[in-house]
Subunit: 355 residues, 2 copies
């Protein structure tokens, strides 16, 4: 515990104004020839300070490069300018996409973000992470909860500051707001597209049922089929991985049960199953139409370019930040979910239309 001991000196040889010790409000006051109270007032845009004095103080602040000490401010005001993000550690497309978007939005709104990721078992780690986040003085927390176990842990947790959860298709509870993209709609869009193309035997390569995304996408597929008076086809449940899809598709061709059309729960899933088909001369889209979900980078250059559904993470992040800020400030905001869009490419085609 030797304290901070930067080799030599962190400021050595820099070209800018030397700032060995961080200047304080008192330094500013001294130079400007006013009391620290006055400086505090100009810092907080408070009234009761003459224009001339304000100018002078501002100038000094700029000159000596003064910056407010956030710890001190946080200590006395117990309010903060940062928001916490809790995520699972998974590097999967959805979570990472929202994470990045969230950070971007927060920054644009003047909030810093501190992110913590948790891993199994969630029961302890989630509460712990929430507390840690609270400690750092965040004003609110957004948790990205793709898997239902994690969401459950959040529901059971306790937190002083407002918590908002991004979990597709989960519902809000008194203490945690929920927000999400309307992925069920996305799934319906995908399935409807297949139906519109004249397919009747439409299978679903589902994602993990431990994920909200897996659940609602499957639900959307079923609903669309039901609404169209069709009976759901095969629905193997996997883990999002191309490997699983590959093996499963292989089994299908062995069993001669390859469907007319497949709605894959993710682009990665689609990738795996397309390869399995390709290896056995089953062509996409000539022999089977497939649509994915996610629109990952490169999916437009798959063989064939993939029809898929795209989520708008930026909009999602924007909205959920709005919701959280609303909760933090006690106002109510609109909470209609974001709608994903279908992007049609070459992996789907009309049923029974010989080339």
């Amino acid at each position: 515990m030797a304290g901070r001991a930067v080799p030599h000196d962190a400021n050595e040889g820099l070209h800018d104004a030397p700032l060995r010790r961080k200047p304080t409000i008192n330094d500013v006051a001294g130079i400007a020839g006013v009391s620290f109270g006055t400086v505090s007032r100009v810092l907080n845009d408070a009234p009761d300070v003459s224009a001339a004095t304000r100018q002078r103080v501002l100038q000094v602040i700029k000159d000596i490069g003064y910056r407010r000490n956030r710890a001190a401010t946080a200590l006395v005001t117990s309010r903060s300018t940062s928001i916490g993000i809790l995520s699972d550690g998974s590097p999967r497309f959805g979570p990472v996409g929202t994470l990045m978007a969230l950070e971007n939005i927060a920054r644009k709104k003047g909030y810093a973000t501190t992110v913590i990721s948790v891993e199994q078992p969630y029961e302890e780690s989630v509460q712990d992470a929430l507390d840690t986040l609270d400690d750092t003085g965040v004003g609110g927390i957004i948790v990205i909860a793709p898997v239902v176990d994690m969401a459950a842990a959040v529901w059971n947790a306790t937190c002083r500051v407002p918590v908002e959860m991004i979990a597709a298709g989960a519902s809000s509870t008194p203490n945690v707001f929920t927000y999400s993209e309307n992925q069920e709609l996305g799934a319906r869009l995908a399935t409807q597209h297949l139906i519109d193309l004249g397919h009747t035997d439409i299978a679903h390569f589902a994602g993990s049922m431990e994920w909200f995304d897996g659940r609602v996408r499957k639900r959307g597929w079923e609903a669309a089929l039901r609404d169209a008076g069709l009976t759901p086809g095969l629905c193997p449940e996997g883990d999002w991985s191309p490997g699983w899809a590959y093996e499963t598709a292989l089994q299908l061709v062995r069993d001669q049960k390859v469907p007319q059309a497949i709605f894959a729960a993710s682009d990665h899933t689609a990738l795996g199953l397309i390869r399995a088909f390709a290896e056995h001369g089953i062509r996409v889209p000539e022999d089977v139409s497939v649509v994915g979900f996610d629109d990952i980078e490169g999916s437009d250059y798959f063989l064939p370019p993939l029809t898929t559904v795209r989520q708008d993470f930026t909009a999602l992040a924007l909205m959920s930040m709005e919701v959280l800020l609303g909760a933090m400030e006690g106002r109510d905001v609109d909470r209609t979910p974001i709608a994903p869009t279908l992007v049609v490419r070459d992996s789907t085609r009309r049923a029974n239309s010989p080339k």
Copy 2:
């Protein structure tokens, strides 16, 4: 400035111990029947406190759910338990991978991370972000600088706390340490693999020259070729996108200049060029061998499964965290870069070996 006004009460109806106001060190002291000084001592594992007292205090802390106020601690010690991460906003594979890994490692080491991302123009935004990070009380900063403009901004910036940059192939300066994966080695590995397969006409679909990664991968390719006595083949420079690679490859087949083998600067690049070839009946690997870079999820299920080079982001994160912590504590640490590995799959094969 209405202060925090959570609707109703954030703690309402929760099952856990009610914690309307956060308990302080004084509350603990009161209940335990000691002075706050003693509590502080047990908090910091200081000596001069009897085992019995320590036990009692610990118990009270657990009972009332006391947690140290970080702002207060930071204020008085001016040392912190969080590290800042500065990243560009790009959602590309490399940056995101390191970001996630960094967060994981930091958490395991007991540090919170606050991340800020910047965008063009870097000159101002970088200094600004560095300052903001400093304000939040981070003990050190790791910047993920994939593009050289951003790195330049960091070099020109000023910061009180130690700054470390993750930038492939860039060198350290007095005020900013640099660390990275040895991507040049990765590129050599890829190229050497092609050479070992008997190819002599080896092209490189380069990444962006505005990225360190693009530069060093190209450099590695050239170096490997030179060392083998071969002359470098074509080297179009792109932007990492499948789209660019697709168009460029198309041009190559039109010009009848398709090389024997291609080292693509990224898997996404490989994806685009493979599609262009596929559309014109040029088979991979039969007609042309291609190796990628990144080992993105799904690259093992491309058509064909892609030979590529994998970076170890976890190791990278671990090492760079080690370096930063070292700088923060004034000790010196080993700084040999991480070595990527080649993973051979089906997109490469021996030259001139008719099927």
